[in-house]
Symmetry: C2
Subunit: 575 residues, 2 copies
């Protein structure tokens, strides 16, 4: 999407939505220190697809490169011991984040002066006490723009939310309220310095809104950074942040992790605190969104998730269960020796495009080579993705788009065509209570059937245990071509089931020499055909990373991260 730059002004007091968006867009840009910007003119995406690595390094000092190319776990090893100062680390990431925004459009809000003040006070604390204030002492952490932070807007990509608290211009909470996860991260020593772009409504696998435009993938700027936590994906993929938090109601942590070749975790609901976050369709309780970390390594992903759980969020968020971080569960996995993976090669709706098949196969071969067992994952008909899709679709559209129509209506901006929701001009019919109850029962029965099937695999594995985790693709195609992301079920099935799921890069990248489009196929649907013909183009997606999804059962975050580590090591050893 080309950013609209017209400056039409209405004759009344209220500016047009285009004007309001332009003012906000310019304010974001103006908040970036001049000395951190890449000198103009910038190369076009066609001229410079990949802006990571050598391209980025030319604008950074050796020291900045050293810092920003250290993972979050490596950074806290130095900032919690006084080896690196929080201020120096924060400055380096601010510099790289500014470049990221210039090249990718990934930021919504910045808080650099406050972040540097926080970093300075952390350094002072360390100088005085010779110990860190928490496990994230001095670590810059980026946040999806659903998190409220004092002093900052939360627009969530809606023009009508600019200068308001969730659309309410007179709310006393405006710029004066913090989400629980923000409080917990501060308590653990994190330095919060920016909030990242989302698609308005959050219901998209790309990131686009009328404020910042379409957000690009740092590995290949012709394709999408994913969504809805796409600003996180782009920023962390560019190493403008060592790690951050997104949210996931249908894949929104995992899709950007996948498209940017990162690690990400979708925890089950009730593990990490969602309290006090802005949201779409808040109060829709059939499928809940979950907060989860994205980072450049699994160790960093665990660091972020564990730090929040160790902060005991169940005293701050009434929906978080009192389940401490159980590293013994991870240890149990590591001691188990042989694991059994179920591989889902085809969900019955959309078969995988060639590079994605290659990636999944690489993971399968790698874990087999490492001594693990892989079985075909064939759940019963009642657990088929087409049924889960109906549950998800009804959950997300039960209010007839009432909520998102109101939010767009605040400014008069039109919905973007990239959305997975088909937003009508006026709200469609809403589901009544009895239909929602029936939907909730259907969902629970599906969860039960899936659970029973999973347990039943103990009868067929060589270990006598049920399958330990699933290996699936997160998406049937590589990082999306603009407006060609129509299907989320490879991630969404885990949301319907409330399963824990992580993303692990396979090392495979799209290669036109290996990944030709397949002609003459019998497509099972227009959707499948569209994805293979429009959502996949090896020339455009060349170099885009391919990842694999590791899915565990409900509330198995520690196990899923440990199993993901085993997959990751196997892939690295095999490549």
């Amino acid at each position: 999407m080309t950013i609209t730059t017209t400056t039409t002004k209405t004759n009344g007091a209220k500016p047009s939505w285009e004007e309001a968006a332009r003012v906000k867009r310019e304010a974001i840009f103006a908040s970036l220190p001049r000395e951190y910007l890449i000198p103009e003119p910038l190369p076009s995406p066609e001229e410079q697809r990949d802006v990571t690595g050598a391209y980025a390094h030319q604008f950074l000092t050796q020291r900045e490169i050293e810092i920003t190319e250290t993972d979050a776990a490596g950074i806290v090893a130095k900032t919690t011991t006084g080896e690196w100062s929080a201020v120096e680390v924060t400055k380096a990431f601010i510099h790289r984040a500014c470049m990221a925004h210039q090249l990718l459009n990934c930021l919504h809000e910045t808080d650099f002066p406050s972040a540097l003040a926080t970093a300075a006070s952390l350094d002072a604390h360390f100088a005085e006490h010779k110990k860190p204030i928490g496990p994230l002492h001095g670590l810059p952490v980026s946040l999806k723009d659903q998190c409220h932070m004092k002093g900052l807007d939360t627009t969530m990509g809606y023009v009508g939310w600019i200068g308001t608290h969730e659309g309410d211009a007179s709310s006393p909470l405006y710029r004066n309220f913090e989400s629980v996860i923000v409080t917990e991260l501060r308590r653990q020593g994190a330095v919060l310095y920016c909030k990242t772009a989302v698609p308005a409504t959050l219901m998209a696998g790309e990131t686009v809104n009328h404020i910042v435009g379409w957000v690009r993938n740092p590995k290949n700027r012709l394709v999408s950074c994913g969504g809805s936590s796409g600003g996180e994906g782009a920023l962390i993929g560019f190493k403008g942040s060592p790690g951050g938090f997104g949210t996931d109601i249908g894949g929104s942590v995992r899709i950007p992790s996948a498209f940017n070749g990162l690690y990400g975790l979708r925890p089950s609901n009730g593990r990490l605190p969602y309290e006090g976050m802005a949201n779409s369709m808040d109060g829709q309780n059939t499928i809940l969104s979950a907060v989860g970390p994205i980072a450049g390594t699994l160790a960093s992903t665990r660091l972020l998730a564990k730090a929040v759980v160790d902060s005991e969020p169940w005293w701050e968020d009434p929906l978080v269960h009192e389940i401490p971080w159980r590293e013994q569960e991870a240890d149990a996995v590591r001691r188990q020796g042989k694991l059994v993976f179920g591989v889902l090669r085809d969900d019955g709706m959309v078969r995988l495009t060639p590079p994605i098949r290659r990636g999944l196969e690489a993971a399968v071969e790698a874990v087999k080579k490492a001594g693990h067992e892989v079985v075909e994952w064939e759940p019963p008909a009642e657990c088929a993705h087409k049924h889960l899709l109906e549950i998800a679709t009804q959950s997300w559209s039960m209010d007839g788009c009432d909520d998102v129509i109101k939010a767009f209506g605040l400014s008069g901006e039109p919905p973007m065509p990239h959305l997975l929701l088909d937003v009508p001009a006026t709200p469609g019919p809403e589901l009544p209570a009895s239909a929602i109850a029936a939907l909730n029962v259907r969902k629970r029965r599906t969860q039960k059937a899936y659970m029973d099937f999973w347990s039943s695999t103990a009868k067929t594995t060589s270990t006598g245990r049920p399958v330990d985790a699933l290996l699936t693709a997160p998406c049937p195609h590589p990082a999306a071509i603009e407006n060609q992301f129509p299907f989320t079920m490879y991630t969404t099935f885990a949301n319907v089931l409330d399963y824990t799921a992580a993303i692990v890069p396979t090392g495979v990248v799209v290669d036109p020499a290996l990944d030709a489009r397949e002609g003459g196929m019998q497509w099972r649907s227009d959707l499948e055909q569209r994805i293979h013909e429009k959502s996949f183009d090896p020339e455009i997606q060349k170099g885009a990373p391919v990842t694999v999804q590791v899915v565990g059962r409900r509330l198995q975050e520690e196990r899923v991260l440990a199993i993901s580590e085993i997959v990751d090591e196997a892939l690295k050893k095999a490549s």
Copy 2:
């Protein structure tokens, strides 16, 4: 309510609802072994109010009295060591349960031959292996008639459900399906021998339906056994069961526990398995019902809850959290020394009647005497019970009574006047999705406000910790006079907040000499006046037990039971 005994038969194939109810009622009675019945004529409730103790003993052998007056914890101490046989214990409870039904109408289903076969196989197992199959080896356990057991009906008090699976006459699940809690209890060695009465719809603080009629209180047959787990309350109160499980969406475990002078626990949602139970308004997900134990002692209550959690129900129920039984949490409470209680003397809507005030005061004085601190519990206005009542009422009526009208409509029976739901002839307007979403947001914000208030009490307690638990009455009046139970908020506030709550008898009983009606009061509402003038009559309720409710935060089952033990010991020492 007088049981309808007319035998009108329609001329078509389908009997009238009265006839269907009569046939079922007679079948229940016919399933009781003749030798276990009290010789007729039975005394009227007026002639023999209290049928526990000496009255019951005259029909039992010394050995039967010894067994049935041992608590569940005491029984398993003998059945898991081979000292008592499961068959002998089961027979004794079957005998007493038959008497209970004759006197109180508390049974819906019996399974005595199967239970005795199970008991015999448990005895054989012990004889062979010299060890029990689980912590409940040989313990008879009764279940509310929402639990499905193979071979038995589940009517849930609906005439239209007789001979069907939840109203579906052609379902292959009919008599061929078990709820997860049934499976878990069997696995732990329990002997399941009967299912107990409920009010049709479950939405009543009394237990009444057209099959068994109005269920009486064994301590005083002029008053109610409570509801909706009232059959459990009556049966356990009569010692026809050493313990069982009810469900609680607004107080339905706690009210029968309170009215029968028993111990009961309402766990938070997701701790004990609800999967596969029949329910009213299934799929209403704003306030969920929870399964919880009722027993004659706290040790027995813990035994039942812990046995189910130790069975790891999270592998069978997709909504149960993987939280093992944390006895270390109870130990921490015991080591804490001084506790701080918040006492709620008045919920702002209905003040307590005199005997209930005496009971609450007895608990307050007892814990003070034992060295604990008691502070007045005064949450902020947004947490007031009148707001929580609105949330509960909207949750329970969001479908315009569609579900219960359909269930009554299967047979054509009319709703009973005792219900807390005002059931219209045809379904009223349903809440649409956006209104339900707004309700869910309101509920979550109220939970957050209550949580923050509770945490803030750390600033004012002498221990520096937040208040450890609340002491409240479970109900403003004693065991209900028929059709005079209009108000549940002293229990329901904990459901709205998803808090853990237990019932502890105070030793206080209604005494006309001490508990006169209060005249000349300024009532705050017609409801408050009605409760003091109609729901309380010291002459009718004479001898009814008074209990106290101990409320802890979400998922604090172990702590709440440990704190309840401290309250219980203090009360026993003080009396």
